[in-house]
């Protein structure tokens, strides 16, 4: 049997009000990897992720999920294959953490079916995976921003999809929490063979935790591949300007520094 990439994007071009947002994108994303899409603001990272979910008006033939074109997939089928976390998730008031995470089970429920014991076990496990089980019965909006973000990721885990896409998951998180979140994602990719795709501005964490990097500039991929290959001084300067450079810390980690 031929092994399909989890997500294949072929010749994807996206126009919005007469300007080109994405320009002839070709990309294969493998499972078991944490893939980070990086690039300056307004470069089309979010649009690329939204295209995979059919949120953008594109010819859906361009995108394949496990070898199937997304045009042929119903919303409920996509929901069982991809969990998507938006940049600014809306969290309704008066909702308990467990009930919110339970939303992740919705794609599996028939019309007359209701959530059962198994679903609750999955919810408990998902919350355990992000160390948030202690919030099980708390009201969602009473949690801090970082805790909320972890609970949102628990919802995606409870969805039990082979692919999880996150749009800037570490925005608004402090340094420690960003790293914790990235390590949870890395663990999901490596230990559970999930395909994790994130768009992020947190470039140092992306370099540290990602297996693959996609460098996007003005709607075009300028480099793509294993992190250590994709990242070099010329690529980084191409993306962020001539005042940034790669340096190595005392314990051997590659980080990006600026000359300002």
């Amino acid at each position: 049997m031929k092994q399909f990439a989890s997500v294949s994007i072929c010749n994807l071009t996206l126009h919005k009000s007469n300007s080109i947002i994405l320009n002839n994108i070709n990309l294969d994303i493998e499972s078991g990897c944490l893939t980070s899409i990086i690039g300056p603001t307004g470069t089309g990272k979010t649009s690329l992720l939204r295209s995979i979910m059919k949120f953008e008006k594109i010819s859906s033939e361009n995108i394949l999920i496990f070898g199937e074109t997304i045009a042929n997939l119903k919303l409920s089928e996509i929901a069982r294959k991809i969990a998507f976390i938006h940049q600014d998730s809306v969290l309704p008031g008066g909702l308990l953490v467990k009930d919110y995470v339970l939303f992740g089970r919705y794609p599996y429920l028939g019309f007359f079916e209701n959530t059962n014991v198994q679903d609750y076990t999955i919810v408990e496990n998902a919350l355990n995976q992000v160390n948030c089980y202690k919030f099980y019965n708390r009201e969602l909006i009473t949690l801090s921003g970082g805790e909320q973000q972890l609970v949102i990721i628990a919802r995606a885990i409870a969805q039990q999809t082979p692919i999880i896409i996150l749009d800037e998951p570490t925005a608004n998180l402090d340094f420690g929490l960003s790293a914790k979140l990235m390590s949870i994602l890395q663990h999901l990719a490596h230990d559970e063979q999930k395909t994790i795709i994130i768009a992020t501005h947190d470039i140092n964490n992306a370099i540290k935790f990602s297996d693959k990097l996609v460098l996007l500039k003005k709607g075009k991929i300028i480099a793509h591949g294993n992190t250590e290959h994709a990242i070099n001084n010329s690529n980084i300067r191409d993306l962020y300007g001539s005042n940034v450079k790669l340096t190595t810390t005392l314990n051997g980690e590659t980080v990006i520094d600026s000359n300002y």
Partner: protein, 349 residues
Amino acid sequence: MLKIKNQFTNMLLTSTILVLTLLVVIFFSLIIGVADIPVIIVAKSLMSFFPFIFNDFIISDNWHQIIYEIRFPRIVAAGIVGAGLSCAGLTYQGVFRNHLADPYLLGIASGSALAVTIANYFIPATTLFSFLWVQLFAFFGGLIVICCVYFISFFTLSRNFSTVILAGIALSSLCTALTFFLLMIQSEKSLSILSFLFGSFNTVDWEVVVYASPIILCGIFFLSFYGRTLNILQIGLEESKTLGIDAHKMNVILIFVASIMTCSAVALAGIIGFVGLVIPHLCRLLFGNDYQRLIIFSGFIGAIFLILVDDSVRTVIAPQEIPIGAMTALVGSPLFIYFLVIKKRNYDL
């Protein structure tokens, strides 16, 4: 396991309490009224419907007519309208993700009012108030406005709900303006439709109830299956899509069902404000924010509330009646404020 069982037991317990309360309220409402019918007579008469109990009980024709032809249809109508309006209000609030939405948001009330005023203008009052003309005009008046709102938002190609609400508000204002205009130029006729504009169960009989209530009851039954969908719609349109729900389609369907229910409620009893806005909130304060439970509970609470309010309408200054639209706010506002204060809930609009 235990947690799910507890949730289920809680739901069952609350439902049982609400059903019993509703039955007690119905019984109480059958007793009170201008005609003084002893409690024991009403009880025996009701029980004679069950096999083997008081089967030989005979009630005087006069009392029989008061209980079964005047009070009973009125109570049933009040219950159904109350349940329908609060469920419709809850659905509107859920779909628009706005706690200030009520069933008249998109102009159903103004549309119905205009239609009835137009009918009143062209059809002689004696014909108009016989048969179901008022009800029919009210129903289709509301329905036409809703369809117009849908068409406008369809032609603007907007998938944004603000457009729908703005179209509703614009049409609503237009209809209100035309209604006032018609009322002004035919002021001698306008008194006859005031009871419609302020809402009343005074003219309700079984015939009207039989036509209008199935629509509302079917609507509530339909909505009760979509509690979970409404829960998920709260996290936003695109996020609902990531969970497999076609949010746009669902919104259109849910709003349409809630609107049909509202049109029927308006046809049955005229324009009754407050219930559709505040009963869902009262239920939120009492039972939390889970729409699966809220749909059912707000139906019951709405029914109980409107039956009780109608009781007060009938009795406070009997034999005259207070417009029920005014009474709902008069009774409901203090009640709501009381719950708002004792629950001390951080109320996030």
